[in-house]
């Protein structure tokens, strides 16, 4: 490793870090601005370049016409994402285990076809299903409700859970199950008592992917809800298209990306322990 290489490498890492961090810093700075500070051109550093104000943050917790209520959309998003992720993770893990340990056959359909069916759902553009989902939810009276979104999000997240877990179970030797069953476990017992405890890393990764895709979805939340059940991404977009000031928008954005930014730290924990390389792929 010569000197020029090291200099280039650290310059590159530094440049990319700046690029990554900049939008967050800009949002943070903007969230403390007032009308004056925004309309006088780009300003960055509070106190030095502009007088900070907390009205952006305050407006998020004020209800009524003056404020923007962030609490309800936040709770809605959390409920939908957590419920759908939990259900998908349970169903997906079971299915992935079944597919990795048993042979299924129905006519010409084999294991690999079933696996492909699950994973191929990721190719489906959301727009293809938007209108039928809309009509279907209206039919069962679940339009604009938490329940309706949970149903749709399961379809979105289940393939991800299956995809991660099938790979993970593939890396756990089958002898483990066989030994458990020789010891008198039922198939369900072997799965619950032997395999699951050894799959924690895979479950964490699958769970995280579910949380990410659930929390970040905009399209279905946007087309299948109106005013009663608003999720965070939809709430911020509707603010964006009205005359909402930049400072409220920025504060809103920061609050809605924080939960998953914390998840990023967890992912790195697992990655540094090397368990991610086995669980992902």
């Amino acid at each position: 490793m010569n000197r020029t290489y090291l200099i280039v490498k650290y310059l590159f890492l530094l440049a990319w870090s700046t690029f990554v961090v900049f939008p967050f810093l800009w949002a943070l700075s903007t969230s403390f601005k007032d009308a004056n500070a925004v309309t006088s051109g780009a300003r960055y550093i509070p106190w030095l370049e502009f007088e900070p104000s907390t009205q952006g943050w305050k407006s998020l917790f004020t209800s009524g016409s003056q404020g923007i209520n962030i609490v309800t959309p936040f709770l809605n998003s959390a409920t939908v994402t957590l419920t759908a992720s939990a259900i998908s993770l349970v169903l997906g893990t079971l299915a992935a285990y079944g597919l990795s340990r048993y042979q299924f056959r129905a006519g010409f359909v084999k294991n690999s076809d079933i696996t492909f069916f699950f994973i191929s759902q990721r190719i489906m553009p959301p727009i293809v299903l938007a209108i039928p989902f809309f009509l279907m939810l209206r039919e069962i009276g679940a339009l604009d409700t938490i329940l309706g979104l949970v149903i749709v999000y399961i379809a979105l997240l289940l393939p991800i859970a299956v995809w991660v877990m099938i790979d993970f179970f593939g890396s756990i030797p089958k002898e483990l199950d066989e030994m458990a069953m020789i010891d008198g476990c039922t198939p369900a017992g072997a799965f619950l008592r032997v395999i699951l405890p050894n799959s924690l890393a895979g479950l964490v990764v699958a769970g995280m992917f579910c949380l990410i895709f659930g929390w970040n979805d905009f399209f279905f939340a946007f087309t299948l809800t109106f005013t009663k059940t608003q999720l965070l991404p939809v709430a911020i977009v509707s603010l964006n298209s009205s005359v909402t000031p930049w400072w409220s928008l920025s504060a809103f954005a920061l609050i809605s990306v924080t939960p998953l930014a914390l998840v990023a730290i967890l992912v790195e924990r697992f990655m540094s322990r090397g368990s991610l390389s086995g669980a992902i792929r």
């Binding site: 650290y10 890492l13 990319w16 870090s17 990554v20 900049f22 939008p23 800009w26 903007t30 309309t39 051109g41 780009a42 960055y44 169903l91 079971l94 299915a95 079944g98 340990r101 699950f118 759902q121 990721r122 190719i123 489906m124 553009p125 727009i127 293809v128 938007a130 209108i131 039928p132 989902f133 279907m136 149903i151 749709v152 399961i154 379809a155 198939p187 369900a188 990410i212 970040n216 905009f218 991404p233 911020i236 977009v237 930049w246 928008l249 920025s250 954005a253 809605s256 990306v257 998953l260 930014a261 990023a264 992912v267 790195e268 990655m271 540094s272 991610l276 390389s277 992902i280 792929r281």
Partner: protein, 288 residues
């Protein structure tokens, strides 16, 4: 009949079939009807909608635009993600900090960050043009010119999804075997040659996986476009998803948008299959 193994698979399979298959079949059926805002309901008009899709230049242009857009943004993501993964792979000061930092954009909600990016690209009040002016570059009409808007969408996509490439490629690098490197070192290969003759070929399978996954996701792009440019100016950044959204959920031409959706879905499946086959031949040098 029902064995224990079925209790593992069936709940998930039936759930997914129930949620996905009926809507999909319904879309196929609707695509043969003239369902629109004046006439709601399922009649049968044959393949008329599909003939109209065939002549709809706005749709084909959006497909071409999507291809160019995803080709540029995914190759940028791959190159940058690979470079970043290589940079933090071997012992690097602050390596852990960089790794956490680099993952963050992937975790953020695309539409939420697009709202922030929109303020950043603002022509007179945003920081992007302000910083460019430091280098003596005249203000760029980011969101109001065709080329600017196109570039903005790509910049945001690269910001958001390079972390995904970084994550997969770093996971791949970490699990590479040691022996080929020893052999290369004995041969006296420099870092440049080692990369092209050892690292890159060994990383080919995971590279293909990462590229294909990203292309699949990129082919669905709509959120970022909706918030950042609304497909504009004009139709300069309109993607197929966004165009179908306008036809179906704004103009309420349900039948026609269903035909567009099915055409789009089939084209995506076919082209992504071909692309992954080509990638395999190109990067591994053999079929499947």
């Amino acid at each position: 009949m029902l064995q224990p193994k079925h209790f593992f698979l069936l709940p998930a399979l039936l759930t997914l079939l129930a949620i996905i298959i009926f809507p999909l079949l319904f879309t196929v059926r609707v695509s043969f009807s003239s369902w629109d805002v004046y006439q709601a309901g399922l009649d049968y008009i044959g393949a008329r909608n599909y003939l109209r899709v065939f002549q709809d230049t706005r749709f084909w242009e959006s497909l071409l635009r999507l291809s160019v857009m995803s080709a540029i943004s995914v190759s940028l993501q791959y190159t940058l993600g690979f470079a970043l993964a290589l940079a933090v792979w071997k012992q690097t000061k602050g390596g852990r900090l960089f790794r956490v930092l680099f993952l963050v954009p992937m975790m953020t909600t695309p539409v939420v960050m697009s709202v922030i990016w929109r303020t950043m690209f603002h022509e007179s009040l945003g920081p992007v043009n302000d910083l460019l002016s430091v280098f003596g570059i005249a203000p760029v009409p980011w969101l109001s010119s065709a080329a600017g808007a196109f570039a903005s969408v790509i910049i945001v996509e690269v910001w958001q999804w390079t972390p995904f490439m970084f994550l997969l490629l770093l996971a791949g690098l970490v699990s590479l075997p040691r022996e080929p490197y020893l052999a290369a070192a004995i041969d006296g290969a420099g870092p440049w040659r080692t990369f092209w003759q050892v690292t890159f070929p060994l990383m080919a399978p995971i590279s293909i996986g990462a590229l294909v996954i990203r292309l699949i996701e990129a082919s669905k792009i709509m959120d970022t476009v909706y918030v950042l440019t609304s497909g504009g100016p004009g139709t300069a950044t309109e993607t197929p998803s966004y165009y179908i959204y306008i036809r179906g959920l704004r103009d309420f031409q349900v039948g026609y948008s269903a035909a567009l959706s099915i055409t789009y879905l089939v084209l995506m499946i076919v082209s992504l299959t071909i692309i992954s086959k080509l990638l395999m031949r190109f990067l591994i040098g053999k079929d499947s």
